[in-house]
């Protein structure tokens, strides 16, 4: 027995079967889980693209025009299409998860999941409309 055992975050298990790195391909629900987790990569990707847009904007009209031209290349169109699908997947899974992560009670009664999910989608629609209005207003 060592005097000072290493502290581990998890309960130590004496025997562990090796699990393949591809464990998440064995079952559809596992695959959906990992795909959902990977949406975060595309979320970060778009955050960086948006930052890039304002970086270009800070540099002047030519830099902004170059940014717009760059987004018209097949490379970015493909990447943005994939990213859009992943971000949509994130939005839908996130909204559906909200009532499970956050239980809301009104006058002692639990607000039905469907109400919370519907409110999420309503907010989504409304905010999307506002953003489109702001960006498209000529």
């Amino acid at each position: 027995m060592s005097a000072k055992p290493d502290y581990t975050l998890y309960h130590p298990r004496w025997y562990r079967r090796r699990v393949s790195v591809w464990w998440w391909l064995q079952k559809r629900s596992y695959t959906a889980f990992v795909l959902r987790e990977l949406t975060s990569v595309f979320v970060a990707f778009f955050a960086v693209v948006y930052l890039w847009q304002f970086h270009a904007l800070a540099q002047g009209p030519e830099a902004y025009a170059r940014f717009l031209a760059r987004l018209r290349t097949p490379f970015f169109l493909t990447l943005d299409t994939v990213a859009f699908l992943f971000v949509l997947f994130h939005a839908v899974t996130w909204f559906d998860l909200t009532p499970k992560a956050m239980v809301v009670r009104l006058r002692g009664k639990r607000v039905p999941d469907l109400v919370i999910v519907s409110l999420n989608y309503a907010a989504w629609l409304a905010l999307s409309g506002v953003v489109a209005f702001m960006l498209l207003r000529a």
């Binding site: 975050l9 904007l57 800070a58």
Partner: protein
């Protein structure tokens, strides 16, 4: 240290996830697809500049870019642990992920600050 700030990191993760869910689809659809493909006309330089004269818009953009970066950092960190079974690299991965999000946040603040 990690134990103490975990609630804060989770809060940033969930706030960022909500921002990304509510606002990224429309921004990405417009900027990444509708404008480049010519379905809709991209806002010109002057239009965006006019929008940016409002401090509220700059604050909005700061939140829009920064919080989802923390959302990514938190989620991606656990994806690396579970997906690639890298539990032994816990500290390194955490530093890299949250460090990148912090760096992105600083860059966002700087860029939004210097736009005239």
């Amino acid at each position: 240290m990690m134990q103490r700030i975990t609630p804060l990191l989770w809060l940033l993760f969930s706030a960022g996830g909500t921002v990304a869910a509510l606002l990224f689809p429309v921004h990405l659809f417009l900027t990444g697809l509708a404008f480049p493909l010519g379905w809709l006309e991209a806002p010109d330089y002057e239009h965006l500049h006019r929008l940016l004269t409002h401090p509220v818009i700059r604050l909005y953009l700061f939140v829009l870019i920064s919080l989802p970066l923390f959302h990514w950092a938190h989620r991606f960190r656990y994806t690396l642990y579970d997906g690639l079974q890298l539990k032994h690299l816990t500290a390194l991965i955490a530093v890299l992920c949250y460090g990148a999000a912090l760096l992105g946040t600083a860059a966002t603040a700087y860029v939004l600050w210097i736009i005239p």
